[in-house]
C-alpha cells in the first residue's frame, strides 16, 4: 500500500521548489489517491483498464506525486513541474503525460468526461470502472448537475465519484461562498448511491469503494469529509489553497510528515 504521507512529501517538495501550485487540495486527496493507485491499475494505457478523472485539476500535484512514488516519472521530470517544456503542466494534460486519463482544469467538466468513459467501458464490455474526483467548491458549476442528472439514466454502476468535501475553495469557506447543504439529500434525490465517509480513513474508503463496485444499477457518489492541508497542522487552514510555504514553513512541514 502506498503511504499517503510520502505523496504529501512529494507534493510539498514540488510546490516549495517551484514556488507555485496547490498544496491544500492535493493534501486532502492523499489517502484516496494512495488507495486507488494501490488497488487499481490506473496507469495502463489499455482501453479496458480502469480510469481516473481528476476533475479538480488544480490538485494535479497529488497525481504527479503518486506517479513519482510508483517510479513512472523521474526526479528530472518532477523537477520540471510547472516549468517550460515539461510534461508536468500546471493542470493535467493527458496529451503531455500519458498516464493521465483526462485534460482538466476548467472546473465542472470532468464528471461529464467520466460519464463518457464509464459508457465507453460498458460498450466495449470492460468489467472495469471509472473513478472521478470533484472538488466541493467545484460542484457549484452547473455542468456537474447536468452530469449528476444523467448518469443514473444510463445505469452507470461502473462510475464512482468522490467529492473532496474539505470545506474551502479559492476565496474561503464553501459554506460562505455558496453552501452545498443538504448535499447528501440532493445527490440522493438525483437517484445515486450515496455514501458518506471520512476521506482520510483507509478502512472507510475501502468499504465505500467496494460498496460502489458491488452496486448493480446505480452510479455511486462517495462524499469524503476531508481536511484541506491534512497531515501538517499549520497547513490545515483554507489560506493554503494556493499558498507556497517559505523555507522555515517547508522544513517544519517535512518534519511533521516524517
Amino acid at each position: 500500500m502506498i503511504n499517503p504521507n510520502n505523496l504529501r512529501k512529494h507534493v510539498l517538495r514540488m510546490v516549495y521548489e517551484k514556488r507555485s501550485g496547490h498544496i491544500g487540495g492535493s493534501f486532502s486527496l492523499a489517502e484516496i489517491i494512495a488507495y486507488l493507485y494501490s488497488n487499481f491499475d490506473l496507469t495502463s494505457n489499455d482501453k479496458n483498464a480502469p480510469k481516473l478523472i481528476l476533475s479538480k485539476g488544480h490538485a494535479v500535484p497529488i497525481l504527479y506525486a503518486v506517479l513519482y512514488e510508483l517510479g513512472l516519472i523521474t526526479d528530472e521530470e518532477i523537477s520540471l513541474f510547472r516549468e517550460i517544456n515539461s510534461p508536468l503542466q500546471g493542470h493535467p494534460d493527458k496529451n503531455k503525460l500519458k498516464y493521465l486519463h483526462a485534460t482538466t482544469g476548467s472546473l465542472g467538466q470532468g464528471l461529464s468526461i467520466a460519464i463518457g468513459h464509464a459508457l465507453g467501458l460498458k460498450i466495449i464490455s470492460s468489467p472495469n470502472s471509472c473513478f472521478c474526483i470533484v472538488g466541493d467548491g467545484e460542484i457549484q458549476e452547473g455542468q456537474i448537475w447536468e452530469a449528476f442528472m444523467l448518469a443514473p439514466k444510463f445505469k452507470l454502476n461502473n462510475l464512482i465519484v468522490f467529492i473532496d468535501y474539505n470545506g474551502s475553495q479559492n476565496d474561503g469557506f464553501v459554506k460562505n461562498t455558496l453552501d452545498l447543504e443538504p448535499i447528501t439529500e440532493k445527490i440522493l434525490a438525483f437517484n445515486w448511491n450515496v455514501i458518506s465517509i471520512c476521506g482520510h480513513n483507509m478502512d472507510e474508503i475501502d468499504a465505500a469503494v467496494k460498496n460502489g463496485l458491488n452496486n448493480k444499477e446505480k452510479p455511486t457518489c462517495i462524499l469524503m469529509k476531508t481536511q484541506k492541508g491534512k497531515g501538517v497542522t499549520f497547513l490545515e487552514d483554507p489560506i493554503w489553497h494556493a499558498k507556497v510555504p517559505n523555507e522555515e514553513e517547508y522544513l517544519k512541514a517535512v518534519e511533521e510528515l516524517k
Binding site: 486519463h101 483526462a102 467538466q109 461529464s112 463518457g116 459508457l119 471509472c130 455542468q143 447536468e146 452530469a147
Partner: protein, 305 residues
C-alpha cells in the same frame, strides 16, 4: 431540394451500415438536427443526453477514447455557446469527435436571434486543433460526411449545416478533397469566396451582374486553402467574401488574414456587419441584411464600380 442538415442525416445512416463505430449523442433536437432516423435504426448507438450541451460535449470527449466516431448535434448557436467546454474537453484534449451545428445563419428566421448560429465559425476557428467545415449543397454534404466518418480524425471537427433547402450545384462525380477550395466558375474581374448555403445565391448574383467573376466554394474554413486564395487574388483585381455569418471572425476574416500576410488585395466582406439581426421570414432577412442574390449582385456592381 433538401437542406444540408437532411443530407447529413441521410449519410449518417448510410455510413452507419458499414461502420459500427459511429455513435450519436443528442441534446434533444434530434428531429431538427436530423439524427432521429439514426436513433430509430440504431437505438443502441444513439444516446439522448437531454438539453445539456456541455454535458454532451464532455461525454463525447470521454467516449472518443474508446475508438468510436462520436457525432454530437445541436443548433450551431447552442453548441458553440459552450465555448469553454469545447475549448478544454475537446480542443485542448484533442478529442477526435464531430460536432455538428445546424440552423446556421439567418435561415431559422421567425425564431429569431437566439436560435441563429451567427458567430460559430469565429468561435470554433479560434481554437487550436479544431477543423471547421461547411458544405454548400446536399451532395457536397454527403461526400464530406462520408469522408469524415470513414477517416481517422486527429482532432475535433466542427461541421456547420443549414436549415433551408438548397439547390444542387454538383453531381454524383463530386469528390470531396479535404482542405481544397472548389472553383465553381472562373473569372478575372473579381474573386468571390463563399462558404455554405449561399453558394447558389452567389452564382445567381454573378450571372445577373454580367461581370466576369470567379466563384470559389470554400468547404473547409480551417485549415484554409491558401493556395487557391493566393491564385485568385493574383488573377483578379479584387476579392469578395460571402457568408451567412458575422463578418467578424468568419470566412471574410480568414481570407483577409491570408491576403494581409501574403498578398495584400482589396477585399469586401459580405455578411452580418457586427450586429444582431431579428425575427422574420428568412428571404426577407437575407434581403434586408445583404445576403439575397439581389443584394449580393448590387454589392458586386458597387465594388467593381
Amino acid at each position: 431540394m433538401i437542406a444540408t442538415r437532411d443530407a447529413f442525416g441521410n449519410q449518417l445512416i448510410k455510413s452507419a451500415k458499414t461502420n459500427d463505430k459511429i455513435l450519436v449523442l443528442s441534446a434533444d433536437l434530434s428531429k431538427a438536427t436530423k439524427t432521429e432516423n439514426f436513433s430509430k435504426e440504431y437505438p443502441n448507438r444513439f444516446f439522448e443526453i437531454g438539453i445539456a450541451e456541455s454535458n454532451m460535449i464532455g461525454i463525447g470527449s470521454g467516449l472518443s477514447e474508446y475508438g468510436f466516431k462520436v457525432v454530437m448535434t445541436s443548433f450551431a448557436s447552442f453548441l458553440t455557446g459552450k465555448y469553454d467546454v469545447i475549448r478544454v474537453s475537446l480542443a485542448y484534449s484533442n478529442a477526435p469527435v464531430i460536432l455538428v451545428g445546424t440552423h446556421a445563419g439567418l435561415a431559422i428566421g421567425k425564431d429569431g436571434v437566439t436560435q441563429m448560429g451567427l458567430e460559430d465559425i469565429s468561435l470554433m476557428r479560434s481554437l487550436p486543433n479544431m477543423q471547421v467545415l461547411q458544405p454548400a449543397t446536399p451532395i457536397e454534404t454527403e461526400k464530406m460526411v462520408e469522408y469524415i466518418l470513414d477517416s481517422n480524425l486527429d482532432g475535433p471537427v466542427y461541421l456547420r449545416l443549414g436549415r433551408q433547402p438548397v439547390s444542387e450545384i454538383f453531381d454524383e462525380n463530386y469528390e470531396f478533397i479535404p482542405n481544397k477550395g472548389i472553383v465553381c466558375k472562373d473569372g478575372n474581374e473579381l474573386a468571390i469566396f463563399v462558404t455554405g448555403c449561399l453558394l447558389d445565391e452567389v452564382l445567381k448574383a454573378v450571372e445577373n451582374s454580367k461581370k466576369n467573376c470567379a466563384v470559389i466554394n470554400i468547404h473547409t474554413i480551417k485549415p484554409i486553402d491558401k493556395e487557391i486564395i493566393l491564385k485568385f487574388s493574383k488573377q483578379c483585381k479584387k476579392v469578395m467574401t460571402v457568408e451567412d455569418h458575422s463578418i467578424v471572425g468568419g470566412l471574410g476574416s480568414t481570407i483577409s488574414e491570408v491576403l494581409s500576410d501574403e498578398n495584400p488585395t482589396l477585399l469586401k466582406r459580405i455578411g452580418l456587419n457586427d450586429i444582431f439581426p431579428e425575427s422574420g421570414v428568412p428571404s426577407e432577412l437575407w434581403e434586408k441584411y445583404g445576403l439575397s442574390s439581389n443584394r449580393i449582385e448590387k454589392s458586386i456592381l458597387e465594388f467593381l464600380d
